[in-house]
Symmetry: C2
Subunit: 315 residues, 2 copies
């Protein structure tokens, strides 16, 4: 039995250290990556992947915590990836939300990991995709990817999910921001958290207005709007119901298969291009690209001719 097989077996038995070790290997693009992917096998496609995004302060951690608790009560294994593109901190040991950590620290049915933007070969979304595959492949029924903000990086990470939840809070002007950032196109469920605050009805109205403006084909999912007060565990059942309905829609409509095939195609393409880039870096003792760049910058060769030259060396 290889070391990778041992790690995967232990992780499937609920050993958090082995899971953490596998994620560390895949997120830094270790040579064991293909072996790990092979060992995880088709199980990596079995989980329901939830994306949860929203501006700082809307209550993402609290909502994640409540959702994890609810899924655990149903006996489901849950993996959480807390992704912060702006944070330099990564790894299982450093967590923004210690309360959350404490509650589930002794539960081997829950695995929580924070990820940041540093040290990932191929970027944060590739690393997150690989980590999601590990969590699904070692037996998580639900993988929840939590991201801060609604910028481009977050939209990319949200695209890893089968179901994307966008959290808002009343009176934060988030609705307009959401439209600007293109989050409306990726949101399957809007959660208006802190619904005990003033302005909740206006926020819900704004979101419904935006949803009404969106075009969708007959039978296509219409984004759901749910209210919650996660800090008091209110509305969590409504969120779970919406998630369940969306999952049923995904399966029935064939959209799940379509989304996952699209995602797989993008992932394969990125891997192939990554390999080509690595190969490019080894040509002529690693100097091919820089030598051609010197010629282009000096005006001796144009970039297209340089690209053709490199390409003929590559294939």
């Amino acid at each position: 039995m290889s070391e990778v097989d041992r790690l995967v077996a232990a992780a499937r038995d609920g050993d958090a250290r082995s899971t953490a070790r596998l994620i560390s290997l895949v997120e830094r693009g270790a040579p064991e990556l293909p072996e790990i992917a092979a060992a995880l096998g088709g199980d990596a496609q079995r989980a329901h992947i939830l994306g949860l995004t929203g501006s700082p302060g809307v209550g993402k951690s609290t909502t994640t915590n409540e959702l994890v608790r609810a899924y655990r009560q149903d006996g489901k294994r849950v993996g959480v990836l807390a992704v912060d593109p702006s944070s330099p901190f990564s790894g299982g040991a450093i967590l923004g939300d210690r309360v959350r950590m404490q509650e589930h620290a002794t539960d081997d049915g829950v695995f929580i990991r924070s990820m940041s933007s540093r040290g990932h070969l191929g970027g944060l979304s590739a690393a997150t995709a690989a980590a999601v595959r590990v969590l699904a492949g070692v037996g998580c029924d639900v993988v929840l990817v939590e991201t801060v903000g609604v910028g481009q990086a977050e939209v990319e990470i949200a695209s890893l999910a089968d179901t994307t939840l966008v959290l808002l809070a009343p009176g934060m002007g988030d609705a307009i921001q959401a439209v600007k950032a293109g989050i409306l196109e990726i949101a399957d469920i809007f959660v208006v958290n802190k619904a005990d605050r003033d302005g909740v009805d206006a926020t819900v109205r704004d979101i419904n207005g935006m949803i009404a403006l969106g075009e969708r084909a007959a039978g296509q999912w219409r984004p759901r709007v749910v209210k919650s007060v996660a800090a008091r565990a209110e509305g969590i059942d409504d969120i779970r119901e919406a998630i369940g309905d969306h999952w049923a829609y995904l399966e029935k409509s064939g959209e799940l298969r379509r989304r996952r095939e699209e995602r797989a195609a993008a992932e394969i393409e990125a891997l192939v291009l990554g390999r080509m880039r690595a190969r490019m870096g080894t040509l002529r003792g690693g100097h091919a690209l820089s030598e051609l760049a010197v010629k282009v910058a000096a005006g001796a060769v144009d970039p297209y001719a340089a690209a053709e030259e490199l390409l003929s060396d590559l294939v």
Copy 2:
């Protein structure tokens, strides 16, 4: 003489239609691209490329207009690319700022073009890079790339420039935004426009504070801060002086060569990867990637094995 040679010759004589036609060809990735690059030759490396970015309302158009006027008074040929990543409109005919258009419309020493995010093979920054090369290659001494906002797309586009100017206005909270967006790292010159407004000193102080915090090696360029009131043509000479100083620094320090070689390397790499992606799309009658994606989504093959299979077909 080929059609491309004819277009390049006419564009060099100041024919705006020929220049516009060349840019249209390169920005949509036409098959003539390599031929155009070859016809432009080493001249494409001769211009000083200025990047100008800032939030809406800080006075980018007015400042651009004044800079163009100043360069024209020195007899320099100027190309302007107004890039709006959020706008669906592109092409020479549609311009946000008609005033600017009017003033220079009859001057064949100035070429102005707006570019948007739509319809560019390889993305907006690749299209912008190609358009910059056309303008430089047909004889512009200065190419000014104006972008809206300080987001990721803008930072990428700014990286095309030899000298990057970041425009701010007093009291807009832009300084903090600038730090968040990583614009501080790419700004060579800060222009505090609308300097007749309240709060200008505080803004200048904030920027200088940020600059003081930045680490730089001995002899490295320290970002300059210049005040202007572009609407009254005040401070334009100071901006030009700062641009001139930065250009002198770039040449003397070897930084110009370094930046351009880096840019050339990134451009060659992007072209090669674009070619590989296109080639991938033609394998097995165009179905190779989607067939593998179906297998991956079904859990029958892992993404790494799929990538290896595709790669072995490619090379």
